[in-house]
Subunit: 198 residues, 2 copies
């Protein structure tokens, strides 16, 4: 409802914006599949279909399938959302984030690490990114000793919740209101974040 004139830097440039929007759609589609199945099972055709573009357009923009995947192996944005709460409420916030992502999108962003292949560059890059962008970042916020171990154990509990909800498809957790599961499971995660002595 603003009547202000947009500043010069924000003048829309339709053509470029369209290319950017298309690239973003391709990356979103690749991300969608990487959060749901093994790398080897994902075809360029499936990514193209989901993005509403042709496979050759993906090749034009990115070169090849692996180059697309390389662009979506960052956990940077996911970590931002996952860790976006004050420490005293972080356990509950993270549990809620995983559950809401699973309910709304059929997966959660952390779960991509569960599909990291045992061998090869793809898995190693995912593991390194997960460590640097999620584990280390969480550990840096934790008071007390053994922050690295406690960050890993808190994240383990969250990863398992995603596996149980999204892959094992546990009937009870899927039919329980988010708030109730947050109340039950949040304190478990929180117990790793703030050690008893604190």
């Amino acid at each position: 409802m603003s009547t202000e004139i947009p500043p010069p830097g924000e003048t829309p440039r339709p053509a470029r914006r369209d290319a950017e929007a298309t690239k973003a759609a391709i990356l979103r589609a690749a991300r969608h599949f990487l959060a749901r199945q093994a790398h080897a099972d994902i075809t360029l055709k499936a990514v193209a279909e989901r993005a509403g573009v042709s496979p050759p357009l993906i090749l034009k923009y990115f070169g090849n399938k692996d180059a697309v995947f390389a662009r979506v192996m960052s956990f940077e944005e996911d970590a931002e959302a996952l860790l976006g709460a004050p420490l005293e409420d972080l356990g509950r916030h993270m549990v809620r984030h995983v559950l809401v992502s699973q309910r709304e999108h059929g997966s959660d962003p952390l779960l991509r690490i569960a599909f990291a292949p045992f061998q090869g560059d793809h898995g190693d890059i995912l593991r390194a990114n997960f460590r640097a962008q999620v584990t280390t970042r969480l550990a840096a916020r934790l008071p007390g000793p053994d922050a690295g171990l406690r960050a890993e154990l808190a994240l383990a509990a969250l990863l398992g919740l995603g596996v149980m909800f999204g892959i094992a498809r546990g009937t009870d957790v899927r039919s329980t209101p988010v708030d109730e599961t947050v109340e039950r499971y949040g304190p478990l995660v929180q117990a790793q974040l703030i050690p008893r002595a604190y």
Copy 2:
């Protein structure tokens, strides 16, 4: 050291025993891969190599690759070992079981469910077996309300520990003595098994 003569039913029959041993080796090899990678990535050749047999021998015994996999989709034996402790110590026991399996075998048997494909019979059978043989069996032992949900959340924490140790390869959890992680993480699992009011 017994000098007793074996009863007639136990007279060794080498030829048959060899075939059984070979089949068992094939199933062990299939199980090994299914606990480590996606179904689609596993070749008959790899299973044969690991079992020390030829691919045609696998086909002779089982018919095809999927028939081999169908034989190793049970969690029956795993559940026996995982749940083999009194309720008051079950949380710690289960955490120890996952950690020791990961350390000794590079995976844990529950983790097979994390590789269950989203689509297709293979994933659906794994999910149904996991529910019937692990979740439901654990839930049946739990006192108090919402036993099904609490069983799923306890198993979620264990699944996540396997993902963090075996797939994300968390450096801290991998370098921490089993006993210490059991002390830290066991109570989280136990908290789901026995509700506070009990």
